[in-house]
Symmetry: none
Subunit: 195 residues, 4 copies
C-alpha cells in the first residue's frame, strides 16, 4: 500500500493545497476536494477520512517544501551572523507577504479551530522553532562581535511576536511590502544593536 498510495496521496495533497489556499480551512468540504482531485468520493476516503487529516498533510508538505530549513543548515556552519539574520528576516518577510505561504489564512483558521479542541502542537512548534533559530543567530552574532544584545531570549521572542502580528495583519487586512520592510528594518535596529 505504502508506495502506490503514497503517490496518490501526493496527488491529493497537491490538489487540496490549492483548495485550502483558496477557501481557508473550515469552508472546505470533502466534496470540494473530491472535485478538485477529479476522483470518486469513495476513492478519497481510501486515503483520508476528513478535511482535517488532509489539511495536516497539506501543511506538513508545505512546511517541508519550504526549503528554507535546508538552506539554513548549510549556511549555519559557515556564514556570518549578519548574513544569517539577513536571510532570516527575508524569509519572514516572504511569509508575512504570503509569498511563500498561500496557506497562511487557512493555517490560522485551523489554529483557532483547534484551539477550541485543545490540539496545540503544530502552530506552537513552528513558533518556538523560529524563536530558537533567531536566538541562535543572535548569540552567534554576539560571539563574533557582530551584534550587541543584552537579552537574546527576549529579543528573539519579541521579534517573533511582532512578526507573528504582522503575519496576522497581513493575512486579515493586508500590508504593503513597503510597510513590512520599514517595520522589519526598525525592528532589527532596535532589537539587535549592530555595532
Amino acid at each position: 500500500m505504502s508506495e502506490k498510495s503514497d503517490s496518490k496521496k501526493q496527488y491529493i495533497i497537491e490538489k487540496a493545497t490549492a483548495v485550502f489556499a483558496a477557501k481557508g480551512f473550515k469552508s472546505v468540504t470533502m466534496k470540494d476536494i473530491v472535485e478538485a482531485c477529479e476522483i470518486s468520493r469513495g476513492g478519497l476516503y481510501l486515503y483520508y477520512s476528513s478535511t482535517e487529516e488532509i489539511f495536516k498533510d497539506v501543511c506538513e508538505k508545505a512546511d517541508n517544501s519550504e526549503e528554507s530549513a535546508n538552506e539554513l543548515s548549510k549556511m549555519v556552519e559557515s556564514a556570518k551572523a549578519s548574513d544569517l539574520l539577513l536571510w532570516f528576516i527575508k524569509e519572514q518577510k516572504k511569509a508575512i507577504l504570503s509569498k511563500t505561504d498561500p496557506l497562511i489564512a487557512a493555517r490560522y483558521e485551523y489554529a483557532f479551530f483547534k484551539k477550541q479542541n485543545d490540539d496545540v502542537t503544530l502552530a506552537k512548534q513552528n513558533f518556538d522553532t523560529a524563536v530558537k533559530v533567531l536566538k541562535s543567530i543572535i548569540i552567534r552574532g554576539m560571539e563574533s562581535g557582530e551584534f550587541a544584545c543584552e537579552d537574546p531570549s527576549h529579543a528573539a521572542a519579541g521579534m517573533m511576536f511582532a512578526i507573528e502580528g504582522m503575519k496576522v495583519c497581513s493575512a486579515t487586512f493586508g500590508m504593503t511590502e513597503k510597510k513590512v520592510d520599514s517595520e522589519l528594518l526598525f525592528m532589527v535596529q532596535r532589537f539587535i544593536e549592530v555595532e
Copy 2:
C-alpha cells in the same frame, strides 16, 4: 418594536456571546443560538437572519462594554505619560490573556473568514486605533521628558505588532501570564528608554 425588540436583542446577544466564545465563529449555527436562547427557530429570525449578523452585534457590544475607552479619556487629560503607558500595557495584557475578551478566537476566525470575502475594515480599524493611542502616549512622554524614543511611529507600530502576535499565540496555543509579563516588560524597556 424598538424597545421590546431591543431588550430581546440584548438577551440574544448575551446568550450568543457565550456560544461564540465557546465555539468560535464558523462553527456556530443558528440552531446553536436558538438552543442557547431557549427560543424557537422562527423566533430568532425575528431579530437576526444570520450568525454573522449576530456576531457583529456581539462584537459591537463587547467593544463598547470594554470601558477602557472611557477610562482612557478621563486619564488622558491629567495623567503622567508613564501612568498612561502602564494602563495601556495592562489593558493589552488583559486582552492577550483573553481576560477581557473571550471572543478573541472567534474574532480572528471571523477576520480570516471575511478576508476570503473582502470585508476588512473592523479588524484594521481596531489595530490602527491602538497604534494611534500608543503613539500619542509615547509622544506625551517625550514632551514631558519621561520617555526617550527616536521614532515614536515605528515604536508604537512595532509594539502593537508584537502585542498582536502575542494575542494570536495566546489564543491559539496559549501563553502563561508570567511569559506575557516578561515579554511586555522587555518590550517597554526596549521601545521606550525610560530615563
Copy 3:
C-alpha cells in the same frame, strides 16, 4: 360586528385584490396580505382565516363591481339584439385582454387548485351564466329577425368555449388585441348569420 367589520373587510379585500392580481393564487401568503394591508397578523385573522377565504371575497367583489350586469339589465329591455351582441362581445374582449379582470390568472389558478379538491361551483356558474346570456341575446335577435341561427344553444356554448380558450391563451402566453378582434369577428359571422 357586521358594520364595522364589513368596512374593514372591504379594506382588506381591496388591498388583497392587488396582491392576487400580482402574484396569482397559490403564491399568495397570509403574510403578503398582512403586509399589503399594513395591519397586524392577528388582525387579519379576525376577519379571514385563509387566503382562500379572502380570495373568494375578492372574486365576488370583482364580479359584482363589473357593472356589466347592471348595464345589461338596462339594455336588455329596450335594445336591439345586435347592439346587445356587440356589447357582449366587447365585454368578452375586455375580459380576454385582462382589461377588466386583472385577477384572471389567479382565478384559473384557483380553479385548477380547487379541482383537486372537488369544489366546483364558482367557475362553472360564471361560465353557465355567460352562455345563458349569450343564448338569450341570440334568441332575441332571431325573434326580431336580426339573426339567423339554427341552434342557439350550441352556438352560444360553442362561442363561449372559444372565448374561454382565448382567455386562457391570453392569460398564459398572451394574445394581441388585433388577433382577438379578428377571431371574435370571425366567430360572430360564423355563428350568427346576419341578414
Copy 4:
C-alpha cells in the same frame, strides 16, 4: 452516468407523474416526490433539483408517449381529409376528457405559474402546432372537395380556441362525454361545411 441515471430518472418521472396528476403543480414538493419514489431526500437531488425541473421532464415524456404524432404522420400521406379530421377530433376529445392526459390540470397550473415569471414557450408551441395541423387538414379537404371553408386560418384557430376552452372547463368544473361530443359535432358542422 447517463445510462444508470437515465433509468433512475425514468423511474422518478414515472412516480412523479402520478404525484403531479394527483396534486397539480404548485402543491407538489420535493418531499412528496421523494416519498412517492421511496428514495432518500439526497437521492432525488442527484437527479433533479426542483419540482419544476421534474415537471418539465414529466410533461416531455407524456408528450412523447402520446403516440398521436406518429399515427398522424402515417395517416397524413394517404388518408382522406375527412378521416384525418375525424382522427383529430377524437384526439382532442380524449384530451378534453383527460383520458390521455391526467396532467392537464397541472399543466395549466404550470402555465399560469410561469406566466407570472415570463416563461411562455411551451404552452404556446403546443397550441400553435395544433392550429397548424388542423389548418392543413382543412386545406387538404378543400383541395379534395371534401370540405368547403371560406377562411381555413380562422376556422382552425377558432376551433382550437373552443377546444382549449373545453379543456379548461373540463379540467376545472368537469364536462360529460355527451356534452363534449355534442359540442364537437356542432363545431365541425359550423366550421367546415361538408358538402
